[in-house]
Structures are given as C-alpha cells and as structure tokens.
C-alpha cells in the first residue's frame, strides 16, 4: 500500500442545498470535510440517498458547491476547474457511453475530451483496451456488448488520460459476481500498478471492507465516521452481529422487544423484509440487498432479524428459542464479527441497507 500522506483530495465545508419545485430547501450535503491521501483506496460508504453522489459530484466539478471548496492535487475545483479535472478520471455508476459507437471510438472520443490526440491517443487507447481485456472487440459497437463488457469500457474511459485520482461511483451495481470480482481486482491494480488514488463509493459493506485503506461513512449528508476499518470497528467494541433469516416477511414486534429484554448482552435488534422485485426495489437493488446479506442469500419475501450482542454465539440458542416460541420458521443463521455494517448500525441505529 502506498502511504504517501500528501493529500490528493481536500474538501472543506462542502455543502449543497437544492430547492425543490415547491420552494423547499433540501440540504443534501451538510458541510463535509474530507482528506484523501495520494495512492490510497478511499471508500465512501453509505445507504442510498445518503449524499455520496452529491458529495463526489461537487468534488469532481459536476455540481457547484453551495458552500465550501474541494482541491484536487492542490487545484481548487471552483477556481481552477480545468486543472483539477485534468487530474481526475470519473467512472460513473451508469454506463455513460455512446452505444452506437464502437469501444475504440468511445475511448478515442473521450480521450480527445481529456486533451489527448494523435499517436499518443492511439497508444493510450491500445493500452486501455489491453487493460480492460477488450482488444478483440474494440471495433464492435458498445450496444452489442454484455453488461459486464460495457462496465469495463465505462471504467476504461476514466483511465485513458492516466489520472492521478480515479473516482468510481458504485461500479459493481447490477452485475454478475464474475464481473464484480474483475472490477474489484481492477481497483487494486490501479493503486498497486499505476499508483493511482481511488475514491470509491458504495453501499455494499463487503466491498468497502475488502477494498479500502480508509473508509468514510456518510449518512444524511454528513460524514459520521472516518478511518481505517480497524479504527471504525473499535467504535462498536466487541459486538457480534447475528443475522437470522426467517421465512416470513413480517414478525411480531413483541418478538424483537422480547429478544432485546430477555437475552443477555443484546444491545440492538432490527428487522428487515427482503422486498420482492417491483415493490419499490429493482432487480439490481434486490440482488445487492441479497449480497449485503452475504451467505444468507435470502429469497425475496423473507425477513431478516439482525441482532447485535457482545457474545453472539452464546446468545444465539436463546434467541432461536424465542423465535420458535413466536411460531416463526428460521431459514438461515450467520454470526459475524464486528464489521462496517455493525459500525453503521451502531452509529445510526439503522442497517446500511435501509
């Protein structure tokens, strides 16, 4: 890991206020202070709507901050936007490509937008096509690509000009595990082989844990925790997280209260329903929710009881007994050591997926 301590990004007092159609002011980001060091992978973790994208949109110059400023490599994004943007490569969450153009044409076009041209552009395009392993499909139109291949081109566009900072906005949303693995490996390569700084946003705790040198947790437009994974989990002490899948979409609220009161060492009990697709949740979101539950792999329509307890394994039999008393069928059980999910739960009282 590169531990260079010169800041790649310095955000101070970043605030963004939107005015809705009915004149209501919504404070999407509430004065964020953030420092990202050169050569690190920094993840911004938070649930959907927490303000991750708005925050990064201000850092990348897409949105004008209502207050505050951000510097990329020492250049102010508000006062020297062209210099700051030249150091930044962006990989947006959606496939932001021209699907009627070929992979090569897309790379060449965006390369020109970054000021590349001539042989240099051609050489960089070849390099990136090698990097994303799509040289054999370079002359095919992007609309003929699979979702994973489009993702790779989407990433490649952000790397063309060899940026010092790469911002990746939830790049694994809605793709299969194989391509997800490939993208996560790519992030490591960017840091380890090219010395790039990576700013990675995600709502998936596992990704943040696996990738990050440091993590910032954002909720309701504020950074509520910042540090290495070890530093953050220390905040929740020794609590284990028990994830108990049940076959019912709803449980008796008395059950949750009973667990909280009668089982020793339990500090928090939470229940969540795995939404069926189409009930306010897309397939991708449903897949992501399943992924955040990791090995439990709950089916849609089931429920998930999350319990925080200092000695989880000892508390588990008593909890299962209570669940049985409430005539609820257990589908799966998992005990987790303290992690970022627990940190978020500890800090906000809500699960990250809420």
């Amino acid at each position: 890991m590169n531990s260079n301590h010169v800041p790649m990004v310095e955000a101070t007092g970043l605030k963004k206020v939107f005015t809705t159609r009915d004149g209501k002011r919504v404070e999407a980001v509430k004065g964020v202070d953030l420092t990202i060091r050169k050569g690190e992978i920094f993840s911004l973790l938070g649930p959907n709507g927490a303000g991750k994208t708005t925050c990064i949109s201000m850092i990348s110059g897409l949105l004008e901050p209502t207050e505050g400023d951000a510097r990329i490599g020492g250049h102010s994004i508000t006062r020297e936007p062209m210099e700051a943007k030249a150091l930044l490569g962006v990989v947006p969450q959606e496939i932001a490509l021209y699907t009627q153009l070929t992979a090569r044409q897309n790379l060449e076009f965006f390369g020109r937008m970054y000021g590349l041209g001539g042989r240099e552009l051609s050489r960089r395009v070849d390099e990136v096509l090698d990097f994303i392993d799509l040289k054999d499909r370079q002359n095919d139109r992007v609309e003929t690509f699979s979702g994973g291949m489009k993702r790779r081109v989407n990433i490649g566009v952000g790397l063309l000009h060899r940026p010092q900072l790469v911002y990746m906005d939830e790049p694994t949303v809605g793709i299969d595990p194989q391509n997800r693995r490939r993208i996560l490996d790519t992030v490591f390569r960017l840091r380890d082989e090219y010395g790039m700084t990576v700013l990675y946003t995600t709502h998936l705790m596992e990704e943040a844990q696996e990738l990050s040198d440091r993590v910032g947790i954002i909720d309701h437009g504020e950074i509520i925790a910042l540090g290495t994974q070890g530093e953050l989990t220390q905040q929740v002490g020794e609590e284990d997280r028990l994830m108990i899948g049940v076959t019912k979409p709803l449980v008796n609220p008395d059950l949750l209260e009973t667990i909280r009161q009668q089982v020793p060492d339990v500090t928090h009990v939470d229940f969540d329903t795995v939404q069926p697709a189409g009930a306010g949740q897309t397939d991708d979101e449903a897949a992501d929710a399943g992924s955040s539950s990791s090995v439990i792999a709950l089916r849609q329509g089931m429920g998930l009881i999350t319990v925080l307890a200092r000695r989880g394994r000892r508390a588990l039999p008593r909890i299962l007994n209570l669940i049985e008393q409430y005539e609820t069928e257990v589908y799966s059980v998992e005990v987790r050591e303290p992690d970022l999910e627990a940190v978020f739960l500890h800090l906000t009282g809500r699960a990250l997926r809420d």
């Binding site: 939107f18 990348s60 949105l63 153009l101 076009f109 970054y114 041209g117 566009v157």
Partner: protein, 471 residues
C-alpha cells in the same frame, strides 16, 4: 479547444447519420411532401395543368394617375394581364377597361387604346370583375371564389416613381402604404398561394421596374437640365418618358422563369415550379425546425444517459460542449435545407426540361437566408432543450411550438395576420425563400429578423440549460 469542438461535432454527426429514422425524417419526408403536393397540384409535364382554372374575383378601384402628362392605370393593366384584356366569362360582370396608357413606343399596345394580352394567366384564373370589395370578400367566404384581389384606389399613384420634374405634379401618396389585398380562402391553400404569388410578382415587377426607370430618368434630368426642360414643356416627350414605365407589360417572373409574359405567347406558366417554391420553402423551414430539435434533443438525451455529466467532469468548458452540439446541429440543418432546395430545383428542372432556377439566381442571397434560417431554428432548439427536462418533453413541447410557429408563419398555406406572423421564424424564412423564388433579393430584413431571433433564443436557451445542469 478546437479539437474538442471538432470531436463533438464528429461524434454527433456520425451518430446522426447512423440513425435511419432521423435521416428519413430529415431528408426524405420534406422532399416527399413537397413533390407529392407539387405532383398533385402541378401535373407532371410542362404546361400540362392538372387543376382547373382558379376562380378569382378582381375589384379594381384604381383611379389611375398621371405620369408625365400621360394617364396610367396599373390596376387596369393588371386586370388585362389576368383576363387577356377582357373580363372573365362570368355573366353579369362588368368588363373594366384594360391598359389606358397609349404608348407610342410599344406597337403591340397601340391601336384601340387598350392593351390586348394573351398570356397564360387567362388559363390559370377564371376572373370575375366586381366593383364592390365586400361582395368579393363575401364570395370568397361562401366559396364562390378562391381569392379576391382588391386593388386600392391609389394603387397607380403609389406605384409611380417620385421624380422631381419641373412642371409635372407627382403623387404625394406614401409608397409604403401601397398594397393589393389578396383575400384568400384558407381552405384552398395552394390556389391561394398561387394567387398571392402572381400578385406579389406583378407588384414587385412594377416596383423594381419603375424605380429603376425612375432613377434613370432622375439621373438624366440631374445631368442634363435640357431634358428637364423638355420633360416639363413638351407633351410628346412626356408621352415617351411616361411609356418608359412598366404597366401591365412587365414580366411576372418566378425564379428566372417567366410564368406570364403577355408578349410571349409561347411561354407557359410553370405552375409546377411555382407550387414547388411555395410548398418547398414552407417544408424546408418547417422540417429544419424539426431537424434542429432532433439534433439538440441529444443534449437532453445525453443528460439522461449520463454522458453529458461525464463530459462535464472532463477538462472541457461548457461553452465548448454546447458549441459543439450547436455546430453539429447547424451543419445537419444546413445540409438538410440545402439538399431539399437542391432536390426541388432538380425536380423542377427535370419536369421543365431545362434548368429552372427555383430559388433565384443570387447564390449569396440564398446562402444568407439558408444560414440565417438554420441559425434561428437551432437557437429555437437550444431554447426548447433548456426548457424541457426529458427527451419526451422536448418531443411534445417541440411539436407544439413548431406547429404554432408553422401556423403563425404561414407554413400550412394560409397567411396569418402580419403582426402575428412577424413573431414566427418560419414566416421570415419562408418569406425570404419565396422572395428569392420571385427574383426578389431584398431579404435583408428577413435575415436580420432571423438572426435576431437566433441570438435571443440562444442566449435564453443557454441560461436555462445551465440551470438544468445544476439542478
């Protein structure tokens, strides 16, 4: 910066020309409509008219004027042109004396004091001469006539050039107020347009011809006081000078093609070309408007697809991004208009068996009106892109605005009240092309109006667009 601008233009043009539906909309549709309309109403062979004579009521209230001591009545001359020197066949209609200018220099008109014409406009129009303008309008309203041509009492006076000749009293009327009223039936758009074109051509010929001749005589008088003396005191000389002015003997021209030359019987009116000009100009501008929106809509589509936000994170100024989009759309619109106008010219020429300069013979003027129109429609496209949130809104809003502009601008064959029409860029574009088609290159006002609207739309559109990006 230029390489970035060029890249955006290339990308937009490349993607556009890969979109068959858009190409069909841009090029094939307006051409097809123009040709179909032309074929249906104009016939496919030279001189072979497939429509019946257009019933027209003519009310000549022209009281005539005195030109160098010679009585002139341009209104009567016009009647002679459209009737062949006599009234139409409708019973009860009172023939009005035709040209009243006995001109010793023009043998054809010397004789019984009336000019006798045999031009083909007599085939085109079935003329009924009336004395009451209200009766004529009522006739149009009830469908008896397609149009009423009402010539005002001071028409000749106002058409006469203002030359300061000692001893000769000239009209003091305001030339700018001169207008032959064409009251047309809105339901007969093509026929109405033909009548308007013929009247406009006649008036233009009078104006340009008489102004030129007037200027020549003025110069002559200025240079040689003896001429003034002669003009002021010699009746015969006055008659000669007076006959120099064009009455009903002028050519009513359209794009260099004579459509009614009373002295050349062999020339048939090129009705097909006339209709191609009328419909083609309207279609060219209207579809340019749609094409511009088709191009600019990509800004909104890119905003939704995420490519525009991505471009905004590159070190590329917004002005270059918008400039590139605007330039690409402008190129497409210019290309579309040029191809359409050229195609119509080719069709008219093939139909006539000779080159028909449908859009006049002044390429600079044509380039000017095409460029100004293209800028205005692209400006409107930017404005709509700034107002709309989604591509669907662009489509809906754009169609409503285009149709409203089309109606206000007379693109559908009927002329709206002039103050309303002035607000429509379509009016200025179509009017400019029609003027060129009639051989009139006085389109400076059209170009100025179009450029003014282009600038206004562009500035407001960019302002709104920037607000959208920030939202």
């Amino acid at each position: 910066m230029w390489s970035k601008l060029g890249a955006i233009v290339w990308k937009d043009l490349y993607t556009t020309f890969r979109d068959r539906n858009l190409l069909l909309m841009m090029f094939a549709a307006p051409l097809a409509i123009s040709v179909i309309v032309g074929s249906v109403f104009g016939g496919q062979s030279t001189g072979g008219f497939s429509i019946e004579a257009i019933p027209v009521a003519v009310v000549n209230q022209d009281e005539g004027t005195d030109l160098f001591g010679q009585p002139s009545n341009f209104g009567a001359d016009f009647v002679a042109v459209v009737t062949g020197g006599e009234a139409g066949s409708n019973a009860g209609a009172e023939p009005v004396p035709a040209a009243t200018t006995p001109c010793p220099l023009l043998d054809d008109t010397v004789g019984d004091g009336s000019a006798q014409f045999s031009g083909s406009l007599t085939d085109l129009f079935q003329v009924t001469l009336l004395e009451d303008s209200e009766a004529a309008r009522t006739g149009v309203d009830d469908g008896t006539y397609t149009a009423a041509i009402i010539i005002p009492a001071d028409f000749s006076a106002q058409m006469s050039p203002d030359i300061d000749v000692p001893g000769i009293a000239q009209s003091e009327a305001d030339a700018a107020a001169t207008q032959i009223e064409v009251y047309a039936n809105a339901g007969r758009t093509i026929s109405g347009s033909i009548v308007r074109s013929v009247v406009a051509g006649y008036v233009n010929t009078l104006l340009t011809g008489n102004i030129t001749i007037g200027a020549t005589i003025s110069s002559l008088i200025d240079a040689n006081p003896a001429v003034a003396m002669l003009a002021g005191n010699n009746a015969e000389a006055n008659a000669v000078l007076g006959c120099g002015f064009i009455g009903g003997l002028g050519t009513v021209s359209l794009g260099g093609q004579s459509i009614a030359n009373p002295q050349a019987e062999e020339d048939e009116p090129n009705l097909f070309a006339l209709i191609l000009v009328t419909t083609g100009a309207a279609q060219a501008v209207l579809f340019a408007l749609f094409a511009a929106q088709g191009g600019i809509i990509s800004v909104v589509e890119e905003r939704r697809a995420g490519t525009l936000p991505r471009l905004l994170t590159t070190p590329t100024p917004r002005t270059v991004l918008i400039g590139g989009k605007f330039t690409a759309t402008l190129v497409m619109v210019i290309l579309q208009m040029s191809i359409l106008l050229l195609a119509l010219l080719v069709i008219a020429s093939v139909n006539a068996g000779e080159i028909v300069w449908l859009w006049g013979t002044n390429p600079l003027a044509l380039v000017g009106i095409v460029l100004a129109t293209s800028l205005a429609v692209c400006g409107m496209g930017i404005l709509i892109a700034g107002i709309a949130r989604t591509p669907e809104q662009v489509g809906t809003l754009g169609t409503i605005i285009n149709m409203a502009l089309g109606v206000a601008g007379g693109a559908f064959g009927f002329a709206p009240p002039i103050p309303v029409a002035y607000f429509s860029l379509i009016y200025w574009g179509v009017d400019g092309l029609n003027k060129l088609g009639q051989g009139n290159v006085d389109i400076a006002l059209n170009i100025a109006a179009l450029l003014g609207q282009a600038a206004l739309f562009f500035i407001v559109g960019i302002f709104l667009f920037n607000r959208r990006v920030e939202a």
